[in-house]
């Protein structure tokens, strides 16, 4: 199962990069997100999986698609020479980075001290319950901070996207409030 999902994830991610048409990129990105959500289920983080689908695939990507369709742009042909150099460079960089990261993580991983939430315990309490409780106790301040962040982002997006200075109604940036 892991392998299937991993293949979906990697393949879809690759397609995001490789596709010429941004709409396809977005679609493959949704697929990648779904694959990732599957991985999360495997990791027994159901709430995370659902959030992943709900927020990333459901909201963020809709926004993406919305904008992509609204703009409906095609890749223009640009000066190729520079581009090729750039691509080569970027590819090399990426490969090096991946190599480095892989070397770091693929080796023996020393796990730190284990926390209290063993899978059994988690299943007992319910993943969502534990998640919610932590969010509203230990991480309450951060939680409130993110709500402020979202508010700011919402207002910022409205201001930026507004066509006319005042009085014009523009499509509301919906997804930003989703994570509430």
């Amino acid at each position: 199962m892991f392998v299937i999902l991993a293949v979906i994830l990697v393949g879809a991610s690759l397609m995001v990069v490789a596709q010429r048409n941004p709409v396809y990129s977005a679609l493959f990105l949704i697929l990648a997100f779904l694959g990732l959500a599957g991985q999360f289920v495997l990791l027994q983080a159901q709430i995370i999986a659902v959030l992943q689908v709900l927020v990333y695939a459901g909201a963020i990507m809709v926004l993406f698609l919305f904008v992509v369709m609204l703009l409906n742009v095609r890749d223009r042909q640009a000066p190729e020479a520079k581009l090729r150099w750039q691509k080569l460079f970027g590819l090399i960089l990426t490969i090096i980075l991946f190599g480095l990261v892989a070397v770091t993580v693929a080796g023996e991983v020393r796990l730190g001290p284990q926390g209290e939430f063993t899978p059994q315990r988690l299943a007992e309490l319910g993943n969502a319950q534990v998640f919610g409780k932590l969010l509203f106790t230990d991480f309450l301040f951060l939680f409130e901070a993110t709500s402020v962040l979202l508010l700011v982002a919402m207002i910022g997006a409205m201001v930026l996207a507004r066509r006319r200075p005042l009085g014009a109604s523009s499509p509301p940036p919906a997804a930003s409030s989703r994570a509430d």
Binding site: L43, I60, A106, T146, L160, A179
Partner: protein, 103 residues
């Protein structure tokens, strides 16, 4: 479900996804796609968060995912608004054509 997949697999997968995102950011010129690739990078990181959360028996990773997600949402909202404005003024979302900040 018995758990056999070791942590390092997840980490390698996470690294792969992250690197794909990086590659996308570096290779593509469409601002929208670059944005998507950033989301891919975040996903890669999220995967390792959740994996660690599972293997360390700690909820912190999942909480972190939540915050990453929130930030991503905010970022997308603002980012897309910016892209929209850029497109309106330039009829293009090619990042290589946007260089007003050139020193």
């Amino acid at each position: 479900m018995s758990f056999t997949v070791p942590l390092s697999w997840y980490l390698v997968l996470s690294a792969i996804v992250f690197s794909i995102g990086v590659a996308g950011v570096l290779l593509r010129r469409n601002a929208l796609v670059i944005f998507m690739c950033i989301e891919i990078m975040l996903s890669g990181v999220n995967l390792s968060f959740i994996a660690f959360s599972r293997f360390l028996h700690s909820m912190s990773g999942q909480i972190f995912f939540f915050f990453v997600m929130t930030v991503a949402a905010a970022e997308v909202a603002v980012g897309l608004a910016i892209i929209l404005t850029i497109f309106r003024s330039r009829e293009s979302v090619d990042v290589d054509e946007v260089n007003l900040l050139r020193g």
